[in-house]
């Protein structure tokens, strides 16, 4: 919360002032023997504490709400606008990223699967023609065979032109299929921004909670907050891809590391 810098220093000056005056009055009343009034003052102090808590929570709620409302991305055309207007929260947006990347991957693989046999067929035709061509050069070919080869070479040139066109076309489409990166990149950046904001707000919440602790005089046993040992079931569930693998010693940084590890285990 950028508009609430007092957070860093401690309690609201207003609250501190109240605390000071009412504490002084409390001492006065206790010394004077007016215990009913003293109890009343303690209640008032409690209220001051509660109200400052509610105010902080209210502020946080507002800025979190704001962050979510501002969480928009710029659609480039009507179709995208329609697609994006349907998405109201980050998980929908990330689901959209999964769909987009999956669509692009499948489109690319369709084209590749379509193109590979063409390249293979051209290679086979060329290899067979090359063999016959070598025989012709060694003058091992009958005139009838040569006429047949002549025709095949002609056909090969025609199919070479057609197939090369089609392969070129598939490659350009594969290129275009990568345009998902633009839109998914935007969506991911927005979600990252939201996560960052939420992180900041959570940090503010922690700072605010520490003020509450200050008022209530609560001391936490931090050792309880240590993360529990992961049980076997959790380990079985897997962790997903590791980020910054190179900087971590408990994570392998590639296939070579895996191979080394396995061979050290006798594989």
């Amino acid at each position: 919360m950028s508009n609430n810098n007092d957070d860093e220093k401690g309690l609201d000056p207003e609250v501190i002032e109240k605390l000071r005056t009412q504490a002084a009055e409390l001492v006065e009343q206790v010394n004077a023997g007016d215990y009913a009034r003293a109890m009343g003052l303690i209640n008032e102090l409690n209220e001051v504490r509660d109200q400052s808590l509610y105010r902080e929570v209210g502020r946080l709620t507002r800025s979190l709400h704001e962050a979510i409302r501002n969480f928009q991305i710029d659609p480039r055309n009507a179709e995208q606008q329609e697609a994006l207007s349907k998405m109201t929260d980050a998980s929908d947006r990330l689901e959209y990223v999964v769909q987009m990347t999956s669509k692009a991957a499948n489109r690319t693989m369709d084209l590749v699967e379509d193109t590979m046999p063409k390249a293979m067929a051209l290679k086979e035709q060329a290899a067979s023609l090359r063999d016959d061509w070598q025989r012709l050069r060694r003058r091992e070919m009958e005139p009838a065979e040569f006429r047949e080869l002549y025709g095949r070479i002609d056909n090969f040139f025609v199919s070479l032109t057609d197939e090369a066109d089609s392969i070129y076309g598939s490659l350009s489409e594969i290129l275009l299929a990568q345009d998902f990166q633009d839109l998914t990149g935007q969506v991911i950046q927005k979600v990252t921004g939201l996560v960052k904001e939420v992180e900041d707000h959570l940090l503010s919440l922690v700072v605010m909670a520490s003020h509450v602790d200050q008022i209530t005089g609560t001391v936490h046993d931090l050792s309880e907050a240590e993360p529990a040992e992961p049980d076997e079931k959790a380990a079985d569930q897997g962790h997903g891809p590791q980020i910054n693998a190179a900087d971590r010693s408990d994570v392998v940084s590639g296939q070579d590391d895996v191979d080394d590890l396995l061979s050290s285990l006798g594989f």
């Binding site: 079985d236 994570v251 296939q255 590890l261």
Partner: protein, 123 residues
């Protein structure tokens, strides 16, 4: 040679299927997690299992343990192809009886090498 490919992402199954086809293995089936894969393995006479680790339902490591615990399947060669890259996970997979471990992202050459190595050792 009949191969079962288990991964929750159809894209990854398709990539592996294509790579296996290039290596000459054309008889492949697919399953999206261990719960789907296990009955297929039990009834299907598969010669080789390629599985991911992190899947909803039954994970790859659980599937591996089920396979090793089944009298009819316990010798089935299993190759793990996964993004799971923590050392203790690789050790756990090795202890559970995996035959090979490939971390994603991988290349066609790595997949080929690991598969060939597994078959070399079996023969």
């Amino acid at each position: 040679m009949k191969i079962l490919i288990v991964d929750d992402f159809s894209t990854m199954r398709r990539i592996i299927k294509n790579l296996l086809r290039d290596l000459g293995f054309t008889n492949t089936d697919e399953a999206d997690d261990g719960n789907t894969a296990l009955p297929m393995l039990k009834s299907g006479k598969y010669d080789f299992l390629v599985t991911d680790w992190n899947m909803p339902g039954m994970t790859g490591i659980e599937l591996l343990k089920e396979v090793r615990a089944d009298d009819n399947l316990k010798t089935l060669p299993v190759l793990m192809v996964t993004a799971e890259a923590k050392r203790d996970q690789i050790v756990a997979a090795a202890q559970a009886g995996v035959n090979g471990y490939v971390v994603k992202p991988f290349t066609a050459a790595v997949l080929k090498e690991k598969i060939e190595k597994i078959f070399e050792r079996i023969q």
